[in-house]
């Protein structure tokens, strides 16, 4: 549940609850107040009547009027007279309906006899008034609640929009994207604090990350010179006349190993550079020329495995990328397709608009698709390859947002690049 919905619901339920009790209380308070007024009025009339009865003649005895109804009964006739205020309903003939009345009964001496006197006050008008006041109040309160709800919701939405924006940006945050991580300004201090902390955090992460990458690159770079020294010294050592065969072999093995090391180092450096986006300029390239060039360079390998190469090229296929990276990308895929090919197998290179597909025949392997592009994931522990070729392919594709895919169909390994 969204925070805003939750707070709104809470607010609504609490106000409704309070409102319910408040209205009930309000109704009774109002009623009580009105009754008090009527009581006072009835008391006044009572004292009037008593005074009248004491001082005047019989003629003044019975002033009757709808509102000032009075009933005088000798006390003897009544068994237990009600002496106080109470509510009653009387059938009114002129209106042909029951009308609520408030009644005051009292006993008074008059002409030497005790009389029980009841005076009434109609409640119809006051009841109507109460109901109207009550309705108006209810309407006003509901209106206030609604207006409040809407304004609160609106202002919260506005205040929280910065927060939602921040969440969206964190969600889409990619440390490799090199886009500036900019957050909206907020009038709310808490959100501003949050954004400030987040900005500081991402800045720190980015700095650490780039430091790390820089370190990798520098380390690989610095390794090249000592490797060059090792290689040159061993090459000189190999020229010396007084080494026996065993010693020569040992030096040569060490020499090959350091060569391998330098190749590995160069490749890792390349990967780091791709990740650091150090190949900015891109051109429109015709991949077909590059493929032809690669195939020519790999002629020996193709011939020795008796691989049948077939090409299906569309005329106007162009790829927009860095030429050096394009060459590496294609070379790695083609080399891979040749190396894992069968003797006398097929190598099919298809290039159509938006897609290059390089397929080679070969037995099925059990490397999970996800691991195929992992660094140093090799099918065999052979020294043939470094196990970085496909990882480079993937990194290059990532750089240009190309989709690289693999499947195994009809005894063919297929690598697709969608650009």
């Amino acid at each position: 549940m969204k925070l805003l919905t939750k707070t709104s619901l809470n607010y609504l339920s609490v106000t409704l609850f309070v409102f319910l009790f408040a209205t009930i209380a309000f109704y009774y308070l109002l009623r009580h107040q009105v009754n008090q007024n009527i009581n006072i009025e009835l008391e006044k009339r009572k004292s009037n009547i008593v005074n009248q009865l004491l001082s005047a003649h019989e003629s003044a005895a019975a002033p009757t009027n709808q509102n000032e109804k009075i009933l005088i009964t000798p006390l003897k006739e009544i068994k237990n007279p009600q002496l106080n205020f109470y509510d009653t309903i009387i059938y009114e003939h002129s209106y042909k309906k029951y009308i609520p009345f408030r009644q005051l009964g009292f006993v008074t001496q008059f002409n030497n006899a005790a009389y029980y006197i009841q005076i009434y006050k109609s409640l119809e008008e006051t009841d109507n008034l109460i109901i109207r006041i009550f309705l108006i109040m209810t309407f006003l309160v509901i209106l206030i609640i609604i207006v409040l709800l809407i304004t609160v919701r609106h202002t919260s939405l506005k205040a929280w929009s910065v927060f939602y924006d921040t969440i969206k940006k964190i969600n889409n945050y990619d440390i490799n994207s090199h886009n500036e991580f900019s957050l909206q300004q907020s009038e709310v201090k808490e959100f501003d604090d949050l954004n400030r902390v987040l900005k500081a955090m991402t800045a720190r992460i980015e700095r650490d990350y780039s430091n790390m990458k820089e370190y990798t690159e520098n380390a690989s770079h610095e390794l090249q010179t000592p490797l060059a020294i090792i290689n040159s010294k061993m090459e000189l050592l190999l020229q010396s006349q007084n080494l026996d065969e065993k010693q020569m072999k040992a030096v040569a093995d060490a020499y090959e190993a350091s060569n391998r090391l330098s190749k590995l180092n160069k490749t890792l450096l390349l990967l780091a550079k791709i990740e650091n986006r150090q190949f900015p300029e891109s051109k429109s390239i015709n991949p077909l020329l590059m493929i032809e060039k690669q195939l020519e360079s790999l002629e020996d390998l193709i011939d020795s495995k008796e691989i049948k190469v077939s090409k299906q090229f569309d005329e106007d296929v162009f790829i927009k990328m860095n030429p050096y990276l394009a060459e590496i990308l294609l070379a790695n895929l083609i080399k891979n397709a040749i190396r894992h090919n069968l003797k006398g197998g097929d190598l099919i290179i298809k290039a159509i608009k938006g897609e290059i597909c390089i397929s080679n025949s070969g037995p099925e392997h059990n490397i999970a698709k996800g691991l195929l592009f992992e660094r140093f994931h090799k099918q065999s522990s052979s020294q043939e390859s470094l196990g970085l070729g496909l990882s480079i392919v993937q990194k290059i594709c990532e750089l240009y947002n190309y989709k690289v895919d693999y499947n195994y169909e009809n005894k063919m390994h297929n690598f697709y690049i969608n650009f």
Partner: protein
Amino acid sequence: MNLVQIFISFAIQVEIFFYFCYLIVSYNIFEFVYMKILIIEDEKTLTDSVVEYLHEEGHVCEAVYNYTDAVEKIELYEYDCIVVDINLPDGSGLDIIRRVKKSAKSLGIIIISARNSLENRIEGLEIGADNYLTKPFHLAELNAHLKSINRRINFDGNEQIVINEIKLLPNNHTVFVNDKELKLTRKEFELLVFFISNKNKVITKSGLAEHLWGDYMDMADSFDFIYTHIKNLRSKLLKEGCADYIKTVYGVGYKFDLT
């Protein structure tokens, strides 16, 4: 008396002429003139190796380890070729190349650098370097490049390399054994030139592989092909009555042995 003087002066002129002829011919026969090379590289141990290797080839090598010394040497002396590292402690090797090129010397320039990005390479070649080698490099490779620069400078590329019964015309890509033309594939020819450039030296398999294929092939792949190519080259040479110069150094590589 007059006649005698004229005769003697004529004889001297003829002698000088023949001497020059001899020199020209001897250049061809002895493959190349030795070069004066300046090596500019701050890593002393690496420089030592390079100097030692090139010295054995008969070149005159001088080494400096920083920009200032390099500039001083270049201003004072004439060199046929400079081998220069881009990253020097007190300056850029590229500036040295620009400086050298400004004084319009037709000398050969080889860059050795730990940087192997395309931009560095292109920049280096654009300002006039002949070659760009990335560290680590094979000494044999450096030597082969120096030889080819030597051919360009001293023979305008129209040189023939003669080694006993073998005659190579690098520009026409042709080989003669006992004056009979030998048909070689491109790779076999490159192999032969590389061998001759580094004659009497042990050349490792990886050095050969990198020379023939560059970065295109991974090493283990290429070793088999080297074996095949060398086998073919050797049998072609032997068939034409050439001595068996290509020796296998077990587990290491090969040697073009003239001794």
